[in-house]
Subunit: 491 residues, 4 copies
Amino acid sequence: MGPTVTETVTATTTVPEGEYKVADMSLAAYGRAELAIAEVEMPGLMALREEMGAAKPLAGARVMGSLHMTVQTAVLIETLKELGADLRWCSCNIFSTQDHSAAAIVAAGTPVFAWKGETLEEYWWCTNRALTWTDGGGPDLIVDDGGDATLLIHEGYKAEIAYAKDGTVPDPSTTDNAEFFQVLTIIKDGLKADPKRWTKMVDRLVGVSEETTTGVHRLIERAREGSLLFPAINVNDCVTKSKFDNVYGCRHSLPDGIMRATDVMLAGKTVLICGYGDVGKGSAQAMKAAGARTMIAEVDPICALQACMEGFQVIPLADVIDQVDIVITTTGNKDIIMKDDMAKMKNNAIVGNIGHFDNEIDMAGLEDPASGIKKVEVKPQVHRFVFPDGHAVIVLAEGRLLNLGCATGHPSFVMSCSFTNQTLAQVELWKERTSGKYENNVYILPKVLDEKVARLHLGKLGAKLTELSSSQASYIGVKPEGPYKPESYRY
Amino acid sequence: MGPTVTETVTATTTVPEGEYKVADMSLAAYGRAELAIAEVEMPGLMALREEMGAAKPLAGARVMGSLHMTVQTAVLIETLKELGADLRWCSCNIFSTQDHSAAAIVAAGTPVFAWKGETLEEYWWCTNRALTWTDGGGPDLIVDDGGDATLLIHEGYKAEIAYAKDGTVPDPSTTDNAEFFQVLTIIKDGLKADPKRWTKMVDRLVGVSEETTTGVHRLIERAREGSLLFPAINVNDCVTKSKFDNVYGCRHSLPDGIMRATDVMLAGKTVLICGYGDVGKGSAQAMKAAGARTMIAEVDPICALQACMEGFQVIPLADVIDQVDIVITTTGNKDIIMKDDMAKMKNNAIVGNIGHFDNEIDMAGLEDPASGIKKVEVKPQVHRFVFPDGHAVIVLAEGRLLNLGCATGHPSFVMSCSFTNQTLAQVELWKERTSGKYENNVYILPKVLDEKVARLHLGKLGAKLTELSSSQASYIGVKPEGPYKPESYRY
Amino acid sequence: MGPTVTETVTATTTVPEGEYKVADMSLAAYGRAELAIAEVEMPGLMALREEMGAAKPLAGARVMGSLHMTVQTAVLIETLKELGADLRWCSCNIFSTQDHSAAAIVAAGTPVFAWKGETLEEYWWCTNRALTWTDGGGPDLIVDDGGDATLLIHEGYKAEIAYAKDGTVPDPSTTDNAEFFQVLTIIKDGLKADPKRWTKMVDRLVGVSEETTTGVHRLIERAREGSLLFPAINVNDCVTKSKFDNVYGCRHSLPDGIMRATDVMLAGKTVLICGYGDVGKGSAQAMKAAGARTMIAEVDPICALQACMEGFQVIPLADVIDQVDIVITTTGNKDIIMKDDMAKMKNNAIVGNIGHFDNEIDMAGLEDPASGIKKVEVKPQVHRFVFPDGHAVIVLAEGRLLNLGCATGHPSFVMSCSFTNQTLAQVELWKERTSGKYENNVYILPKVLDEKVARLHLGKLGAKLTELSSSQASYIGVKPEGPYKPESYRY
Amino acid sequence: MGPTVTETVTATTTVPEGEYKVADMSLAAYGRAELAIAEVEMPGLMALREEMGAAKPLAGARVMGSLHMTVQTAVLIETLKELGADLRWCSCNIFSTQDHSAAAIVAAGTPVFAWKGETLEEYWWCTNRALTWTDGGGPDLIVDDGGDATLLIHEGYKAEIAYAKDGTVPDPSTTDNAEFFQVLTIIKDGLKADPKRWTKMVDRLVGVSEETTTGVHRLIERAREGSLLFPAINVNDCVTKSKFDNVYGCRHSLPDGIMRATDVMLAGKTVLICGYGDVGKGSAQAMKAAGARTMIAEVDPICALQACMEGFQVIPLADVIDQVDIVITTTGNKDIIMKDDMAKMKNNAIVGNIGHFDNEIDMAGLEDPASGIKKVEVKPQVHRFVFPDGHAVIVLAEGRLLNLGCATGHPSFVMSCSFTNQTLAQVELWKERTSGKYENNVYILPKVLDEKVARLHLGKLGAKLTELSSSQASYIGVKPEGPYKPESYRY
């Protein structure tokens, strides 16, 4: 056989210099090879390309994305592009970018601002740049994950109102939140250049589709207090998102992250999963399946009783702090594992977060110079924090999402479900941009689309549905083609 | 050691002759022994006895129950009694009564009309008798399972309206539904005696709490068309009911029923579960856990994709009809396994239903004299239907719920969750009987009660909850004591 | 449809009055119906009937069996009969007989001495009767389970030697073992009638095939000390027996037994399995699969480490005595759960044994009149032992094998593996009866027969083997048709 | 907090230039950090260091190792060193070396010849160099994995005999096996320099301990034909090796390898595991646990029946070749997946080997220039082989062990079991080097050492053994301290 062929992709790009920033354009070929594999694993997105590619339903739409710049997201981006969109992209997490996929997307002509290992300042700079087209204007649509793009716009808008009223300029020094400091700095610096920039952006914006529980929670808060500035579609609560990505995605990527980070055998270990929501359920199932003795810490008695029914011991962290080998947070809440907890753990106990923000783990406490704790890097995203008494805890991804930081996040197939919903949400928002169908509120997609997303993913797995006869359909009061369940159905 | 002691319970009863009908009062002692065990397994009900026993919140309420007369139901009955209720009871399934528990309840002074193996005529006679207090009047409250008591009242009321209008009397010969024939016969016969009996019953009725998906479906239909005659609380959709009883109850009682009926080894067998809703999920998990090669037939693409994610092959019955050793229906729909399907099955393939009605399986086709099929009883509730070609299928519980017909139904602990909700619903209906809070519509219990039910069951399992700090609660926008999730949360 | 047909079997029998003793001959029809189902589930035995039925390789052989008189054993008996054997049978456990199968076997012409619920005196009387043909002579071959038939013969032979030497007669009062008392009594009583009866029986005996670990252990002890009186084939250690019946049989029949006995929900319960050998492995897997929090008590560090690898906590009984809801012994050892342990358990904790003898649980301690413990029968084989402080433990099958006492033992399919080995062993012993191939030692069947047994069971499960090419076979140094593994291979 | 500290290790080494060859000495610090984590995970080895470190039982012994140069092996090497050995090491697989661990070991003073991605020529050069101390002499002891070091010595010895007899020199061109070509070349080249080199090496050699099934198979073949040149201890068949490393190691490292290589979601995929031995059992369990629909191809009917009992469909590859998404070979045999099979697979089906040699997969067929198949590298160890019809298969690790090639092999904890046995075997061989206890045959370690290995690993997992009382021990005929099982026990 001749020499192995590496399919080459030109690392040159039509994106003008300065309109993108990635780690290394020479990774574009490798990124493209990974995309080619991912496309086969993402049947929902590929089906939408086929179904809607010719009609270009997103023609004319500027779409900004703030969502982990991974291989899977790259397939989403190219799907939106195939449907006609004009895109700019950044990541929503400083560690989650896969540099080869970012390079491949830029090589194919779409501006991306993202690399693995951004500082917070760089992160918000990327978000801001992705929101700004070359003509200075903003997007028509946003694909958001966690709500950072939405946050920046809302804060900018608020500051412009205040500034217009009495010349108030935001003062970054008023916050001790390191992220919010960056947000205020960007807004403050921008006010001088254009005191109507965010207002104009809001005027143009047709809507946002949001990927996560946390982002949806923020949107609902805004809608409740009447401050939401544009319509939002809650993609997170599609069944084919929350009951798939959150459960099965994490079931795959939690052990993947722990194994890549530490190579530690999971079988026989004592693991505590903090939280038994969808993410916790997937996580606990994975740890149990790997042969770990798995326990659950939970606040909600219903979720706790579900954990019991699956054979998990339900117990607070404090009660088993000196027995656990691995503790994983999945809560979406804060202050789950504190420095004082980690002080009591076994040597080399592993601590990781697959919930949402890094404040699930007390990173501030660990990194406090006064603590006497030494931070030793084993390899990127894997650190031993050595306590004064000599014992260490191994913290993954510096407390951020370990599946993205230490592995490659959720696998393509499950992300295809989520992203097919995202694509349908973007098409719906753009189609209804002038119809008045959507007000400044939070909406979910109709169940029939949710079922469509599922349907598009069954063939790849060789699954064959049973068909409902019309007499059966009428017996249970549905149409033969669905939707099959009431809105309240829990799956 | 001296001779074994059997704790004796008097088989005498204060219930007057004729005000009860059970199989064998001499089973009362055995029933009481089983109740004593069940009480320890039903912590939610026992906690309500302790919490509310002194206050007697159901004092003055006549409660009629139409719900499988099992040991667990007996603990529910005695809980309602302890809370002050005046009760009469019947079963909601001709095979599901446990005769020893029926006897024990009568022995303790409550009228019961139920025995294992009723004919359809006897079944509806029992329902009618349970609805009729000694003074001829009806109940204030109903505990319904599947909606048969509610059906009888609604049909009676409708007939009385028609009769009052133009003297129309229902004609049982107009239906070919064997059950509905009995309903119409009872109503027709009653019209002569008292043409206002059902109208008066409706006037008195405060409300019904309904246990099942099927019954709730019927209630919602009535509410939608405006014909519901009294308020209803949907107990089925409490999370601590539908996600527990349906899933974990069936996971326990499906293999229990198959094993007691047939003693067939499940490991290695090829099993098809028709339907992957909550009942199907529990059923499939049980079969997989027992070492069976388990496949799923499903109509709904979302549920089908969930099945795929758990490693089940999704395939229509017709495609595997000649390979399956066991087929179980869990759909709540009709015509799932037809005679012609069974004609193609392997010899001694097992066919059973854990969904709802016996029309999931084509019993009519099997029992059609023209079919040439011979019905051979192996033991009660287990029959071989031998086809003309000599092969047989083994049908469990004559197509009715096999877990109740062939085993003892769901175990006490999971029924304690369901029945604690039932008790709370009855107390709520009675408390608000004059407040106008409930109209003739279908309601669900507030989430905080659902969480309370879960909480009452954790201690028995040694589970210990984590407490939310007030700063954590405020971070996620809930109260530290709950409820913890939005209504739309799917668990 | 016409009335349900019950296939009738004549309850008359050709076995002469007095040459059998069972509970109720009217159960014969029901037993025959169960046999018909079991035959379909026992493909190995049915295949041997087809393969060897015409040749009658057991023609002329008197075969005595001492093995649980269940439906499955009935299929074994009729297989041995079909191969030409002249049989007599008893059970090897006072609770394990299924009366309908005993009746069916007698109805078909084979003497059986067995019923459910024998006293110890009756048990040994049955064993003795089964060993005695109508001409007063004994068997050529024995199928033994636990070694009781073998024990009686060896003790009888020993007593006859002693008696011949100096007239010594065994004195039952010298033992405080209730079982051994019966053995000595039978021997003592028989000595007067025929002081050479056991000696003649030994002379005639060709060999025994033994079913269990315990029985094999006894045989090896005898062989080691040179006192074994005839050849023995160790069927227990066939892979298709020990790794199937012990593991998968118990995985099926443990939950079956607990559920039939107590109806207690297994999910969420805390279960301790004492022993993690083959029986313990199957038991623990079943409890985990049912959603119980399962722990292991183990002496052997290798087995303990296996338990760890499967995610089980390994911990001594004493450490969790007040937390467990269910404790099951699987050890084959004695004194595993003592009265003082049970004194510390939770109210209604369940205690059962699926190992071997009832001395795994301290029944003697519980039944000691001085203990102040009250024994309350819930139903046969289910007793609450109420301690003076008011708490109770629920003991299954009075400490004997709960799967046989409270359910129907192992299912047919897995017993077909074991009993196909038994049949092959009987044929082998009889074929080689004069060849001198077998001395008074303990043998195992050649691996090629073990593989044959497996092969005979694959078709029923739809399994299709891959064939080894001759070049592949030669690459790994085996024949294409097997055997495929060295003797030391552990499976 | 101050800057993150990276603990530094000097990349200088006391090993003379030329006496080692690794990829990159600057990785030594990272390797040392990983070793520090691994040590905590390898309690058996660390316990032996503590128990025997002072006594130096290997003092004076030259130990050559041919075993995957991973982090875990590094801990083995340093344990042997702590016990007094003088070591040289190479890998036994061209892809399995972890370069950072090789560097760390050299930095600590031990010669290593190994890097990830050796050519076959380089591989055998490394083996040869590791066998040659600076004085030109060979080792006293060998730690072998797969038997390559043993092979080279035996072939060399054989060639020297032939050469001495009649001047025959091996002719590499006589073999079409690419590996054996290298072996013969080395021997041929060496003959000129020293025609007694291998003979002297054999004279010195005390023995070898072998790690794998394949290597043991080769040793037993040699012993059978009388050509084995030194004693061998079969470490592979220690229970704590074969039933742990093979089963639980693969259960961990198979999904790890697939996920790192392809990021493909396992849930929902159709997977065929070829072979259901120990490796296949662990592999199948892992795939099932990940939510894949898992099937088994198997030759041995006993293993096939075990697969059935766990719910796996047993079916030949040919029958499902067009349905499978992933096929994994675990057989230790050859020609399992041929080019013509792969020609029929779905696009991007994944093919990998976790058995032994790369001839389980027809790599030769794929790489045959005449095949028209194009080999595209996605990333190292991950290639798409694109067939002329356009579909591709993704082959992992070029057909070699995918867990080592695509991930990091088995995790530390399970390797600690294997390597503790290796260490005990080396100590035993050296202790008995002059006693004559071991002849040129293959031995296994006594069970009591096997149990010791297990015991040393329980504490780390928080497991607590139950102690056998002396009366219990005597009841089952063992000593309270073990060994607890007969040699034939299968675990």
